[in-house]
């Protein structure tokens, strides 16, 4: 590739420095998989399958955003599954009958509180994050179980059902939501003061502190946003599935980490691009649709998830991501 074309690519995608190549690769492979999957099964590759994939992705993309921020600062949030379940339960129980903005905000506030407590445990008490969030995962799940005594009360609020099952101009609203989340998430992570400081903290805590960033506040903030995203996902899931269950978050626990890691973010923090998470989400959902169509079980699907994670973090490490990115963005370096 010549320096000129590289330069023009870089100029046309100035904000995507770094892992651009890898992300484009993921999107590209996904885009190829969709029509190619017709060869696997004639029912695949149609607009409706693509649409279904994107609709399902809209929820994982949201959890992935929060998890991504926590991973960005070099921690892990294992509590999201039970936050999803708890907010799902509260959504049907409190919002189902009489939707009100105050109740809606109350539910979100509870989630944010859980996130803040996670963050305080990690920063002030210095409990390793996976222990802290695993503990809060158990506690929150216990609260949800205790509150419901095993049976989830209430009904699905109508506005959530409309949101997740409706269409605007023939396009399912969750797809619009997906696009919106991708754009907003990308901007928050890359361009806001908050996002920048998270990168700084994850890249190098000592430097960030020397540069005047309040490291602990940023980490607490990341956990709070993660919980908030899990809560919103819980609500979307209620709308999508038409109700809440105590296990509704379980399917998001590992995938939320998987999409971030497969999306090219460093599990060590400091590196990552939200669009990578978005690409990885759609990619993995496409793969699982494909696997389902092939008649392969849920088990193989999970197995392949695991292999992909190992492939990305282990064998390729950051090399593929950075090399591919470099090919596209700065071959003229030397």
């Amino acid at each position: 590739m010549t320096a000129i074309s590289a330069h023009s690519v870089r100029r046309s995608l100035p904000a995507l420095s770094g892992q651009t190549g890898y992300i484009l690769l993921l999107f590209g492979v996904t885009a190829l998989l969709m029509p190619l999957s017709r060869f696997v099964s004639p029912s695949l590759g149609s607009w409706s399958t693509v649409s279904a994939i994107l609709v399902i992705s809209s929820m994982l993309v949201l959890v992935g955003f929060g998890q991504g921020l926590v991973i960005l600062v070099g921690e892990l949030d294992l509590s999201i599954a039970s936050v999803i379940a708890l907010t799902g339960v509260l959504t049907t129980a409190w919002l189902g009958e009489s939707p009100s903005l105050v109740t809606f905000l109350e539910i979100l506030a509870i989630a944010v509180l859980i996130g803040v407590l996670n963050g305080i445990g990690v920063t002030v008490l210095k409990v390793p994050s996976f222990i802290m969030t695993l503990g809060s995962q158990l506690i929150v799940a216990g609260i949800a179980l205790g509150y419901t005594k095993g049976t989830v009360p209430g009904t699905t609020p109508r506005f959530l059902g409309d949101l997740m099952l409706g269409k605007v101009l023939g396009v399912p609203t969750p797809i619009l939501l997906l696009i919106g989340i991708a754009v907003v998430g990308f901007v928050i992570q890359r361009y806001t003061v908050f996002g920048r400081r998270l990168y700084a903290v994850g890249g190098n805590r000592a430097t960030a502190a020397i540069a005047g960033v309040h490291v602990n506040r940023m980490i607490v903030g990341a956990f709070a946003v993660s919980s908030l995203c899990a809560a919103l996902t819980g609500m979307l899931l209620v709308g999508y599935g038409g109700g809440a269950t105590l296990g509704m978050g379980d399917g998001y626990f590992l995938p939320s980490i998987a999409v971030v890691v497969v999306g090219g973010s460093s599990i060590l923090g400091g590196r990552g691009n939200y669009l990578g998470t978005v690409a990885a989400t759609i990619f993995l959902q496409t793969i699982s649709t494909l696997i389902q169509a092939l008649g392969i079980s849920q088990g193989w699907q999970t197995f392949i998830y695991g292999c992909l994670i190992i492939a990305v973090v282990g064998l390729l490490k950051r090399d593929l991501a950075t090399k591919a990115g470099r090919l596209l963005t700065r071959p003229g370096k030397s």
Binding site: G74, E75, L76, G121, V122, L125, K126, V127, P128, S129, F130, I131, M132, L134, G135, S136, Q137, L138, I139, V140, A141, G142, I143, L145, G146, K149, G150, G202, D250, L254, I257, A258, V261, I267, L268, G269, G270, S297, Q298, G299, W300, Q301, T302, F303, I304, Y305, G306, C307, I309, I310, V313, G314, L315, K317
Partner: protein
């Protein structure tokens, strides 16, 4: 005194005794043979896994694959249809083999490819979960009789699980007297200093993950004896309990410090806690809350006791950061 208190093992022993006393007062038939056997049966799988995890923690790593291996062993046993002792033996062998293979993969990734242990074992954990679902798509089945009730019954007056727990203790004490048993502490504290002392750090780490994988598989066998059936999704809470046991036992996340004896006592604390909560009539709905709280509190206690014992502050190494929450 200060030094004794700072030892995680002593602290865990004190907590265990205190808890047991409370438990004795909370219920009248605590000291019956059935109750004691029951307690030991519940503790055995925790004890074995905690022993394996402690080795990994001491060497400065972390191992999420434990849940996956335990589940895998469980479903392998639950799908052995023969019902004979022969098929049980095949099942156990297959389960142990699975543990060794997963452990070897972890070890290879962490020791030789320098992958962060959390990331590598997260991957293998997910792989194992998937394989477990492939082997057994939904809970059910039954494990061969040789295992359940075989492994939760008694040989004469002695419960099998007591023998297993004692075997763990003896094996660990013996291991501490081997070369590896000292090398793991060196590597966990400071890998480059260990290398400068002539230790082959990568080989030490690889073997630790391998041994841990095998122990998780044994734990899976013992757990199957307890549940008597298979459950491809059953390991999450179990895994958390093992983490908690190791934390209560005073192992230092980040490496270089810890004792399987402490973790074994920690496992005992959790087993007694479960019994105690049941005895005082706390609804099972809330068990999770107590388990979560005890996990966090245990880590805090462990950290405080470490701080008490530390005579001189030591600089935080990158490795340590990598573990406490990852990231360097």
């Amino acid at each position: 005194m200060r030094r004794a208190l700072s030892s995680g093992t002593t602290l865990a022993a004190i907590i265990l005794v205190a808890m047991y006393i409370v438990y004795m007062y909370s219920s009248i038939d605590v000291l019956t043979t059935e109750n004691a056997t029951d307690l030991l049966n519940n503790a055995a799988p925790l004890v074995i896994s905690a022993t394996g995890l402690t080795l990994v923690i001491v060497v400065g790593g972390f191992d999420l694959s434990l849940g996956g291996v335990v589940t895998l062993a469980n479903v392998i046993l639950a799908t052995q249809t023969g019902g004979t002792t022969g098929s049980a033996a095949v099942g156990v062998l297959l389960a142990l083999l699975a543990g060794v293979v997963v452990g070897a993969l972890n070890g290879f990734l962490v020791a030789y490819l320098n992958v962060q242990s959390i990331a590598a074992t997260l991957g293998t954990f997910i792989m194992c979960s998937g394989l477990a679902l492939v082997i057994m798509p939904s809970p059910g089945g039954s494990v061969p009789e040789f295992i359940s009730p075989g492994l939760i019954s008694s040989v004469g007056p002695v419960p099998v699980s007591l023998l297993v727990i004692l075997a763990c203790v003896v094996a660990y004490l013996a291991f501490r007297r081997t070369r590896m048993g000292i090398h793991i502490f060196a590597v966990g504290l400071d890998e480059s200093a260990a290398i400068q002392s002539g230790i082959k750090a990568a080989a030490v780490k690889f073997r630790v993950y391998l041994a841990a994988g095998l122990l998780y598989a044994v734990a899976g066998v013992m757990l199957s004896a307890l549940t008597a059936s298979g459950d491809p999704n059953g390991s999450a809470v179990f895994m958390v309990l093992v983490f908690a046991a190791v934390a209560i036992g005073g192992a230092k996340f980040g490496g270089g410090r810890g004792s399987a004896i402490g973790s074994i006592l920690g496992a005992g604390v959790l087993a007694v806690l479960q019994k105690m909560l049941f005895a005082v009539g706390v609804s099972t709905f809330y068990t999770g809350i107590f388990q979560g709280a005890i996990l966090i509190v245990a880590v805090l206690i462990g950290m405080i006791s470490l701080r008490l014992g530390e005579t001189r502050p030591r600089a935080v190494t990158t490795d340590q950061r990598a573990l406490t929450g990852r990231p360097a």
